[in-house]
Subunit: 525 residues, 2 copies
């Protein structure tokens, strides 16, 4: 494909001088129109070293309001980037609504440079390609305008340019190791580029090839492509404003009648005090050791807590973390998005908190808000929450593919138990802060939330990231259960990592050291 | 001092068992009280390797609500940290209002480990010490509760412990290179610790020495110290809520009468079109080359734009950045703090955007909002904005000491010119978005803003970070002036860096290449 491109395309000076200035002016005007419509734009520039990507970015940026855009020169991933799923660094740089970003190099590094330099398996490239396609589709559906430009040069022309740049002391620093690699491994780069372009040129997010031999031609084509995309976005209008009407008017009676998987949860499960006093510290110590082992193995863990109000999430999380080394975990309480969080894709704020390899992050409520509260309260449109199931599955697969252990708990209680706990909170002075008018309002909507919960559990329970419905009518039972599931999942990940299917914790080795258990682990130093 | 500490302090098991649990419960309760009072707490743990810092953090964290605290294990600075002033990494980890943070190692690394390993000059240590004292004072005045703990051990006891830890496969990983260094250079570490403790034990932020030989003793002392500090904070109450009454009632007539330095600004300065067309591109090209040179030299630049509404900040910034390589600069528009920004010290959000070595950041409005809009509108208390002058001087010195070029522009126009521009904006369709009701309201307050501006210019113009008052009645003049000042300041920094007092830009070398100037630099690739 790349070899058939006509690299001799050029444009006369006169044509350039008449066409270019209006385009530059138009980009400037469209910047404001996008801002007012709160539409984000991302232009990513890929292509051969020396093909003029840097100049194109600079020229695009030249007349723009510099307060409204950011340029990211994305060099190969740093160790910090590598400690997280590969899309993390790009998520962190996505433009806010109404703002522009230019990526000089992008996520395509992972399926172009990486395989060209033979650093990764073809399976890994295929998986990364798939993630990229899904990622881009998700962003554009959310309203991002994404322009992908490939600057193409012949090998001969590239050599000529790089030579010239190296001879100029003010240009020399721009010639990076990338250029060197491409020269040395030209055939491999070409093959990787062909494959990359073929597989990521989708209807929703197509590539634009910029024939880069002639400077004026490539600038004109760059600007035309960007202006067209911006104009189209403005004409189509911003993504539909979310419908804000709550959906509490659904025929609740009809919903009640249907038995769902939630009705099959056995809420009679109980742990008596003796069992709890014995098992809790043992499980906590086991988990602490698994924390060390996963830290050593570089395995990150993500735990999601969802559940009915007053289902005991807070106390449960506290029992899970109690004996952990606090340097290795973080608990992220999730509330309504504000500030930075409110001007990005709904998954952005969770990506932000993704644990580094070897660390543990617990989300107290999570991205599932999209298909729970946002669906029920109408903060997300029908289309938005419906496609969120797939987006969430893909998101979690990005994590698990990186090796993250993803554990999801739904803490389930009966409406009666919830009422009992609400009343208890209201009556106990030091618990009163936990209960608000909103909790009572949500309680009234329990029947409307129910189908949303059922859909969520059904749609997003995957083999790699399954839901665990925790019978939480009895808090002690629920705590033992979450601890046990978490331990098992981490053990499984360690076993898969080591390959021999077995994990030996210190506690296990010592056949459950009772004395240690009783001291509840406070003997570390 | 350290040698006189009684390291044999211990506590009986019975005493521990009766005293400890209530303390642990109290920390838990106080966590909630601090949260409700929106008071942030930071406990930093320093001391000998193996003295029990990790255990102390873990025990403190054990019973807390994990959703309300974060533990930061601060290893030696990474290359990313080193590309910014040393306090940056600590700023980024400060707890939000109402939340807790534990720093396992802290900014004291820079005046303890660094000098002990002879990596820095004693001048640098003295300067860093001073910055630390200022930094801590600023934080506690803002309402942060800061507890500094030094865990002390004898060299002999340390050796014994580390040996034991290394023998245990589950503890071995905790013994870091720090322990090794301390063992090898014990005397040097001891001397550095003595000096550090002596110089940073201030009335406002004292050290607590924790005699760390006996486990129970050190845990009790840790908890008592933390509980006392938290209790004191709760008793004293949160920092006074800012007075929200605008101060527009000041006797404006009296203020008008006094001539100030603003009255001496010569607003008749003008640049004619010919001069502008000639000088602007020349200065822009010079600046672009300085961008490359400072990038190569690793010198960061911070530019602050302040000025009256409609003084032309946006257009001025655009002329400054027009020909720069956009991969090397960022423009940060500053508005009312929201989300994350609103729950931190007012300087936090600016630290967040500090450029890496070699990069340029332009702030369109800045931390000076504290002594301008926040003072005038009453968003900051009298005490807060008054002490901000010193805080800002210290903040900017942190930057300049790191080698940052700090350039500050006050764009000055007359009230008549402002009125003319407001009216023009109102009449020009594509400029109308720039003018809001608030602008008109602010205009009415111009006479109240005036003394705030005068105080700001007088109080915060330092030798390292002087203000430039830009005569902005004529936009062309103002643009040439800011560009010229910026170029001069960057050249000066380069000259100081290279030591020979001269900088050679390409443009200079070529004696102002006219052709290049006319093409306005679009010939880069």
């Amino acid at each position: 494909m790349l070899e058939t491109i006509d690299l001799d395309k050029d444009v006369s000076k006169a044509a350039f001088q008449s066409e270019f200035p209006p385009l530059q002016q138009r980009v400037f005007e469209l910047q404001r129109e996008l801002r007012d419509a709160r539409i984000p734009l991302l232009v990513l520039l890929e292509g051969w070293a020396g093909a003029g990507k840097g100049e194109a970015v600079a020229t695009l940026a030249e007349r723009l309001d510099p307060r409204g855009f950011k340029v990211h020169a994305l060099f190969p991933p740093t160790p910090d980037d590598q400690a997280r799923p590969f899309l993390w660094r790009y998520w962190m740089r996505l433009p806010e609504r109404g703002r522009l970003a230019f990526f000089h190099r992008s996520w395509y590094w992972h399926i172009l440079d990486a395989p060209a330099e033979k650093a990764v398996s073809s399976d890994a490239v295929a998986a990364a390609t798939r993630e990229i396609v899904e990622f881009e589709r998700m962003l554009v559906r959310d309203g991002l305008v994404l322009v992908k430009l490939w600057y193409h040069l012949s090998a001969k022309e590239q050599r000529r340019r790089l030579k010239k740049m190296r001879a100029d002391p003010f240009e020399r620093w721009r010639v990076g190791s990338e250029a060197k690699s491409q020269r040395k491994r030209h055939e491999r780069y070409l093959a990787a580029a062909e494959a990359m372009l073929a597989e990521t040129d989708t209807t929703e997010v197509p590539w634009t090839i910029v024939e880069a031999t002639d400077r004026q031609f490539r600038l004109l084509k760059t600007f035309k492509t960007v202006v067209d995309a911006m104009q189209r976005a403005v004409d189509t209008g911003a993504p539909a404003a979310p419908a804000r009407a709550p959906r509490a008017s659904i025929a609740v009676a009809a919903l009640k009648a249907q038995p769902t998987l939630l009705d099959r949860v056995d809420l009679r499960r109980r742990a008596d005090e003796r069992k709890y006093a014995r098992d809790l510290p043992a499980l906590q110590i086991r988990l602490r050791e698994l924390q060390f082992l996963t830290h050593a193995a570089g395995i990150p863990t993500v735990v999601v807590y969802e559940g009915w109000d007053a289902a005991g999430k807070g106390g449960n999380i506290r029992r899970v973390t109690e004996l952990l080394d606090p340097r290795g975990f973080t608990v992220v309480p999730v509330a309504k998005p504000e500030g930075d969080e409110a001007v990005h894709h709904y998954l952005w704020r969770f990506w932000r908190h993704m644990p580094r390899a070897g660390f543990l992050t617990i989300f107290d409520r999570s991205w599932y808000g999209r298909v729970l509260v946002e669906r029920v309260e109408g903060f997300a449109t029908d289309d938005e929450w419906r496609r969120a199931y797939q987006e969430i599955r893909e998101f979690e697969r990005s994590l698990t593919r990186f090796g993250t252990v993803v554990v999801k708990f739904w803490l389930h209680i009966s409406p009666d138990e919830q009422l009992r706990r609400f009343e208890e909170r209201q009556e106990t002075p030091y618990k009163r802060y936990k209960i608000t008018d909103e909790d009572w309002r949500n309680r009234e909507k329990m029947e409307v939330y129910r189908p949303a919960v059922v859909d969520m559990l059904r749609e997003t329970s995957t083999r790699e990231a399954p839901w665990t419905i925790v019978e939480a009518e009895d808090k002690r039972w629920a705590r033992l259960r979450t601890l046990r599931v978490l331990c098992e999942r981490m053990e499984q990940a360690l076993a898969e990592r080591s390959g021999d299917g077995s994990v030996r914790t210190k506690a296990g080795k010592k056949k459950h050291n009772k004395k240690k258990g009783k001291r509840r682990g406070r003997d570390r130093r």
